[in-house]
């Protein structure tokens, strides 16, 4: 039947990759009964209130397809905070690719910034944010975040997060670089972990929220209706059971975090492979400001340690600025002190300058690390102030009281991502974003310390209202869950072949990271970026050819292969964005345009790619290739 007689909702004409698919049935809701008929399946509704608005779909337990009102991709602070709110209005699935606590949030150990001191002001926080962002921030976003921050902190406390207090009973507020006032709320030095703990506990206690761990998100399920794109859910791979699970949802929140692993040295945990940005880009979402990648200048460089760690370090050990502040000196491997060449403030120059200087030295000399030497200070002082560094280095045969520390910059945070409006909305209807995966306009060209947890909290909350509105106006149009071809496991391939593919993919990943570090690092140039563009393109073609030679098919999925697609996608977005910005601003520095250009003070926007020349990595897996 076309359309629903009682409520007269007309059927919609859907287009999916050139095919017209008509909706053959509508769900008819009235206060007396609810019914749905489908030629493919039956869904049973639980009507717990008389009101038609408070309808919940019970999870239809077909193991291959699950139905929820809300699906959240990612279990960091943004995803969990959102889940706790929307669970009051419907069923929620939280999908996370490893353990729930394995997210960048958990490693965000500093604090959350908010105006909580009477002598502080929203205007101050705004100004600090905008100055740090080199005026590329969206003013309204900054105002909203700085204004709503304090309430979000209070809610966190109400949810059970324990932050440090002063003797006067008030929250203890610290002050970090770039802040004009004390405003960092923290829990010892494990704020992210504490917030994550509190949120996870609340989520576990919430009967409306189901967490699906070890579910890797593959591609968003979308359809197009003339000029509008709609998101209907997400395909996932259960990496424990090696099964594809399709989630159909009315509303999807993408909160999948960062993409540190496009670089070889990063503070991010292994899960941060840019899955969200890549999926959104493939689904035709607008991406913004990907060139602004934040690096920390001095991470411990394993290559320089006398005893090499036998396992590759998953997230970098950052050496604090306090080492330089206390008198540490930077040398290149020829034992030349190089900071005076770059800045009169020498080792005390701003972090960005230090990062660029180190990067420049490494590129010029073709080396993998520089040296940070504190050994000229008294031994007891070094051990008292920096016991963690001392202990870590000693494990690998390095005594920092007598030898310099090998350091290299590490990728830390992506300021850019999926372009979001003031409520986390994207250009795809039913798709919202929050957290590091989003580009909300808060960070601009550089993130202010401790603003990332704040951004996640504020936008997770702001996305709730429009999500609920979207849910309620959708009038429960259950899609034919088979409208999109299902991804398949590589069961037809021999296990040797699958293993070879996995190994080769790891090699390719290392190569991609190498290209990114060499050519899309901290100090950039047009020629190096163009080289990167070409090399990455070639590498991707080479990898895909290898895959398909081994018998890989277009709709096949595997964790390593899917992560590799996403890494390629994010890497290309970073390169293209960097090429597009012909000025230097904040985190993006290019030798060919080394100064700020007022006329260039706008975000870098990447629109959905045309369907020409798309690689396998660039397409949603369920689409038929042209």
């Amino acid at each position: 039947m076309r359309g629903c007689r009682p409520c007269r909702t007309p059927a919609r004409h859907w287009s999916v990759s050139g095919f017209a698919v008509s909706v053959l049935r509508r769900v008819c809701m009235s206060s007396k009964f609810s019914c749905i008929k489908s030629h493919c399946f039956q869904v049973i509704f639980n009507r717990n209130h008389a009101s038609r608005r408070n309808l919940k779909i019970s999870c239809f337990q077909d193991s291959a397809t699950k139905y929820f009102d809300f699906v959240v991709i990612g279990s960091g602070v943004a995803g969990l905070r959102y889940a706790l709110e929307v669970s009051k209005r419907g069923s929620v699935a939280v999908i996370t690719k490893a353990e729930p606590h394995e997210s960048n949030t958990n490693y965000a150990q500093g604090g959350v910034s908010a105006v909580l001191c009477p002598s502080d002001s929203v205007e101050n926080h705004m100004r600090d944010t905008i100055v740090a962002g080199v005026h590329l921030c969206d003013e309204e976003t900054v105002r909203v975040v700085c204004t709503e921050g304090p309430d979000r902190i209070k809610e966190l406390i109400a949810i059970g997060a324990l932050f440090d207090h002063g003797e006067d009973g008030n929250l203890h507020l610290a002050r970090e670089g770039g802040h004009s006032h004390r405003r960092i709320v923290h829990a010892a030095d494990m704020t992210g972990r504490e917030i994550e703990r509190a949120l996870l506990k609340a989520v576990d206690d919430d009967p409306n929220i189901s967490i699906f761990e070890h579910h890797f998100a593959i591609d968003l399920l979308t359809s197009q209706d003339e000029s509008d794109i709609y998101c209907h859910g997400v395909d996932t791979l259960n990496t424990e059971t090696q099964q594809v699970v399709r989630f159909i949802s009315k509303v999807t929140l993408l909160a999948s975090g960062g993409a540190g692993h496009i670089y070889p040295t990063t503070t991010n945990p292994l899960v941060a492979t840019g899955d969200g940005v890549a999926m959104a880009h493939r689904a035709q979402a607008v991406i913004s400001n990907m060139e602004f990648v934040q690096f920390h200048p001095t991470a411990l460089a394993d290559e320089g340690l006398p005893i090499k760690p036998n396992k590759r370090r998953e997230n970098a050990f950052l050496i604090t600025e306090a080492v330089r502040g206390d008198g540490g000196i930077l040398y290149n491997q020829s034992m030349q002190r190089f900071m005076p060449l770059y800045d009169e403030r020498e080792e005390l120059a701003p972090r960005d300058v230090v990062a660029r200087s180190i990067d420049d030295q490494l590129k010029k000399r073709g080396k993998k690390y520089v040296l940070l030497d504190i050994s000229h200070k008294p031994r007891q002082e070094i051990l008292a102030h920096f016991p963690n560094i001392a202990a870590e280095c000693l494990q690998y045969g390095l005594d920092i009281t007598s030898m310099p520390i090998p350091v290299v910059p590490a990728a830390h945070y992506m300021c850019g991502g999926v372009q979001a409006g003031l409520h986390g909305e994207t250009n795809i209807k039913g798709l919202y974003v929050a957290g590091e995966v989003a580009c909300t306009g808060l960070h601009g060209a550089n993130r202010l310390a401790s603003n990332s947890l704040l951004e996640a909290l504020v936008f997770a909350r702001r996305a709730v209202r429009p999500s609920i509105d979207h849910l309620e106006c959708l009038s429960l149009n259950i899609q034919d869950s088979n409208m999109w071809a299902r991804p398949v496991l590589p069961l037809s391939l021999k296990s040797n072949t699958v293993r070879d593919i996995m190994l080769q993919t790891r090699v390719i990943r290392t190569e991609l990271q190498s290209i990114m570090w060499e050519s899309v690092g901290i100090v950039r140039s047009t020629s190096r970026l163009k080289t990167a563009e070409w090399k990455i393109g070639e590498l991707e073609i080479e990898w895909e050819k290898f895959l398909f030679r081994q018998g890989w098919e277009l709709t096949m999925v595997g964790l390593e292969a899917c992560e590799m697609r996403n890494l390629f996608c994010c890497a290309k977005l970073v390169v293209n964005s960097a090429l597009a910005r012909r000025e230097s601003r904040g985190l993006h520095f290019t030798e060919d345009f080394p100064y700020l250009e007022e006329s260039k003070r706008k975000p870098t926007i990447i629109l959905p790619s045309s369907s020409l020349k798309l690689t396998w990595s660039s397409r949603q897996l369920h689409k038929e290739p042209h």
Binding site: H135, H186, T320, R356, D360, A449
Partner: protein, 111 residues
Amino acid sequence: MANKLRRLLVFSHDIGNPRVGLVLGHARSLSSSSPAPPEAERRAVVEDEKKGEERNGPGSEGRKVDGEDEEGDDDNGGVYANKVTGEVGGPRGPEPTRYGDWERGGRCSDF
């Protein structure tokens, strides 16, 4: 997404040339276009903290984080309270943010 191209609030005292670092010899200027707390301000913050430490008695700089330092008192039923900042249950030893980033024992966890 027209809202993304809205006019940004501009602070006149910050427009203009980036701070240019001193260039010596053949090295290029890698001046920062993003500001950071001025060196003087940072030194002042550090000095405040150091003064705080000195106030608590000589040799306080040599205290380790393992609970041996006497900067705070344990009158609150065994919970450590920092005499300088008034923070209860916080980290012992030098202020983690004294150089702008968040550090404990030398490892930076936020910046």
